[in-house]
Symmetry: C2
Subunit: 480 residues, 2 copies
């Protein structure tokens, strides 16, 4: 395959360029008029300006809220606010739900209480629950008070489940039917709807007490004869359902495995509360993996690329501080061997190699095991088998790569015993990395902690300090 | 929130435990019988053994192929093969499509040509195309020859698009209708189906030449009056469609943004070729993010947790080799300053701190910028703005954290100028990290390369060698 110019199949880059172009012209017009010393109000009234604005508005009106959200994320603050002002008020809510948390904060900052209230009023119960933490509490309370009792209950329900549970992702909009009616009746019932809820691939069959008896897929509704009863063709056995307290990631993997589009959420008495859809699950999967990537890189959360320097510093300082502490500890280990380094200064040049390879191998092992734990592929009882295997990998890598580096050290410093110490230290540090790579996540899992959190920092700290200690210790014992 | 025992909402862990339990009993029976010196054939015939096997088979028969796939992934090789033998032959294909590449190889190894052929014959065109690279080519050819011409074309089409394109994920199973019929006719037509293709949320409206005129969502079909014509209620404007050459990741983000379930794939003449569904997109999103996590950790690909030591070594050696080279280069930089370290051995203890913090800050910057590039939020023209911002972040971090570490160095080694050099070196290395963190991905993007690939290795190599050089260089100039 040859390298190609990246294609733009969904036209996003074209939209972005058009808008950036219109914004640039806008700025040019303003700066020209400014130079002619026109007062600012008159300037806004000029014809070119107005034409430009009209074209920008028309362009924005035609875009999907999700695309406007992406464009806002890609614009620097001044342009972002300018475009945000132009976006038609009725899309505000959808756009706010689509942008990243960091960008949402920059948009909300520009809105006055009346606008915020108008946005909050336009949202469904589950959407209001999503946005509520970012809105002023008086406004949320006002809007909440204006809802009917059923909606209030839904908002309360959605807000009562913590992030990361199925409850926090519930959607209350769904179609329910009774099992003793015919498909003909269901078809007539559906024709009374103006629209079906998004991602309706099945109707929920409930009784008078809201208890879930089964699901009627649109497929069954469509392929079966109209005189069939719902109860005859509904699916009621081995039905996938969730409780609102279930882990959202576990739910997401169930969607993945069984190729689901929507799943009912029921309480302990099998009463239907709401449903979750694949759209929320896709967001969940994306957010989960991004959180993992960000935390690997030591970013607290997704960062607005146009955030101020101070906000970026805040997002990044915690990880830097932790790493400074571990680097400082490693530095103290080296300090213990000052005398040895003074006598054989080659040690200073070689020691980072031992520490570095240990960190890399440790990260390989721990990443694999954290993932296997998350997938339920490893039980703590499988520890010995994993330890044996990782130790085997470490031994081979230590002898091969340690041997190569040892030979290089021998050749560079004309000292065969220095080479041997190098090989031995690398092998031992790789064994340390393998052991820690298996034990850290398994022990944390057994203690009920998240095995992934900070695993990379921990293992790197251990293999750095450990690598310096092993190498300098062996050198002190055998070379000096 | 208090820590809880992880829940098992989908019952997977329970299934896995049941099967492990049955397997353990099986082994116990075998070992007991073995001690009584029964010949192996007689042993297989014993009653307990048979009962156990029957229970295991029943258990497996009730499970979804995706769950059997996960269970196979969680079993060591001997158990895995034992269970694989028990699984009913008609599920083989689906299970093989669900397991990871590494585990698939271990399963295929145990199958004879006839079994492989039976599996291949049970697959749809797109599934056969997926599995073909892992099957012996004679078998693929045999099965291919036995297909009718339309199916052969489909297999050829699906196999002709490289991984990572929409074409490689196409599904040929779909329902098409004409625009001049009424919904009543469509409803009658659908009742002739035994089942609809998975994820049918819309029917495709085509003309005699297979050209796509629009889509009829099941929603429109259900909410509109039966006498309405398809052409009146089909959606034909701003339709999301893909070409088979489109990037699968771009397609996946379109599914995410517009909350889609299925999308038609058309050729340059708007002729309908196939469709892609959210199920394939979810797999795509998951694989993409896992590939990112694996490559961060330096694993070539997903690893079978029960892989042999040799296979694991193969999966991991490339990254270790690259890192050895960069560590070796850093070691040569240190070697340049042997004399300085001999005179002031504190330098050896302090230098890893300078290198380490540079690597961390560089990884933070590069991760953010690679992601912003992938999301289309940064154009190469935005380089200066980003450089200014990252330099600002680096300056603040350098003065704050560099100041802290400088003060510590002063206190530990009673040497104020050593502290000053430390602060200066940390600030300069952070500035280097910031500059490289912005420039490396932007330049690679401009050269048409993947900005993410190996970005972490590159920046760490630079900040390690750079950090040693800056710190030891400044120390040599000002302290000695």
């Amino acid at each position: 395959m040859t390298e190609q110019k990246p294609r733009d199949p969904d036209g996003f880059h074209q939209h972005l360029h058009d808008i950036q172009d219109l914004l640039a012209r806008q700025q040019l017009v303003e700066s020209l008029e400014h130079r002619q010393n026109m007062p600012h109000r008159a300037l806004v009234e000029t014809i070119t300006h107005k034409q430009n604005l009209a074209r920008l508005s028309r362009k924005l009106e035609r875009l999907h809220p999700a695309d406007i959200a992406r464009i806002l994320e890609a614009l620097p603050l001044a342009d972002r606010w300018f475009v945000w002002d132009l976006v038609r008020a009725d899309k505000d809510g959808e756009i706010l739900l689509e942008v990243s948390d960091a960008v949402r904060a920059t948009l909300l900052r520009t809105m006055d209480p009346d606008e915020l209230k108008a946005v909050a009023e336009s949202l469904d119960a589950d959407e209001l629950a999503d946005l509520a933490p970012d809105l002023p509490s008086e406004i949320v309370q006002d809007v909440f008070d204006s809802l009917d009792q059923k909606e209030q209950e839904r908002v309360r329900a959605a807000m009562s489940y913590p992030e990361g549970t199925v409850g926090a992702l519930m959607d209350f909009d769904m179609v329910t039917v009774r099992e003793d009616v015919t498909l003909e009746v269901v078809l007539r019932y559906l024709r009374r709807f103006e629209a079906l809820p998004d991602h309706t691939d099945k109707l929920f069959v409930i009784d008078r007490d809201d208890r879930l008896h089964g699901v009627l897929t649109l497929e069954s509704l469509l392929i079966n004869a109209p005189e069939t009863q719902v109860g005859q063709v509904m699916k009621s056995r081995s039905l996938v359902t969730f409780g609102p307290d279930d882990d959202a990631n576990v739910a997401a993997t169930a969607f993945e495995r069984y190729d689901l589009v929507s799943v009912p959420v029921i309480d302990d008495d099998r009463r239907l509360i709401a449903r979750v859809t694949i759209a929320d699950m896709v967001d969940q999967i994306r957010e989960e993996s991004e959180a993992e990537i960000f935390s690997h890189a030591g970013l607290r959360e997704e960062e607005d690329i146009f955030a101020s320097v101070i906000q970026s510093v805040k997002n990044r300082w915690a990880w830097l501080a932790i790493n400074l502490v571990t680097a400082f500890l490693a530095s103290r280990v080296i300090d213990l061997f000052q005398d040895s380094i003074e006598k054989l200064v080659a040690l200073a040049a070689l020691m980072p190699i031992v520490a570095g390879i240990g960190g890399n191998a440790g990260n390989q092992a721990i990443t694999m095991i954290v993932r296997a734990l998350a997938m339920g592929q490893v039980e703590p009882s499988g520890m010995w088998r994993l330890l044996r295997k990782e130790a085997g990998v470490a031994l081979i890598n230590g002898l091969v790569w340690g041997g190569v580096v040892g030979a290089l050290a021998w050749w560079l410093y004309r000292d065969p015993s220095l080479g041997l110490v190098m090989t031995a230290a690398m092998t031992l540090n790789l064994l340390l990395a393998a052991t820690a790579g298996v034990l850290i996540p398994l022990i944390r899992q057994r203690l009920g902690r998240d095995p992934a959190l900070g695993s990379s920092v921990l293992i790197t700290a251990l293999t750095d300090s450990g690598g310096f200690f092993i190498f300098l210790g062996l050198a002190t014992l055998f070379l000096l």
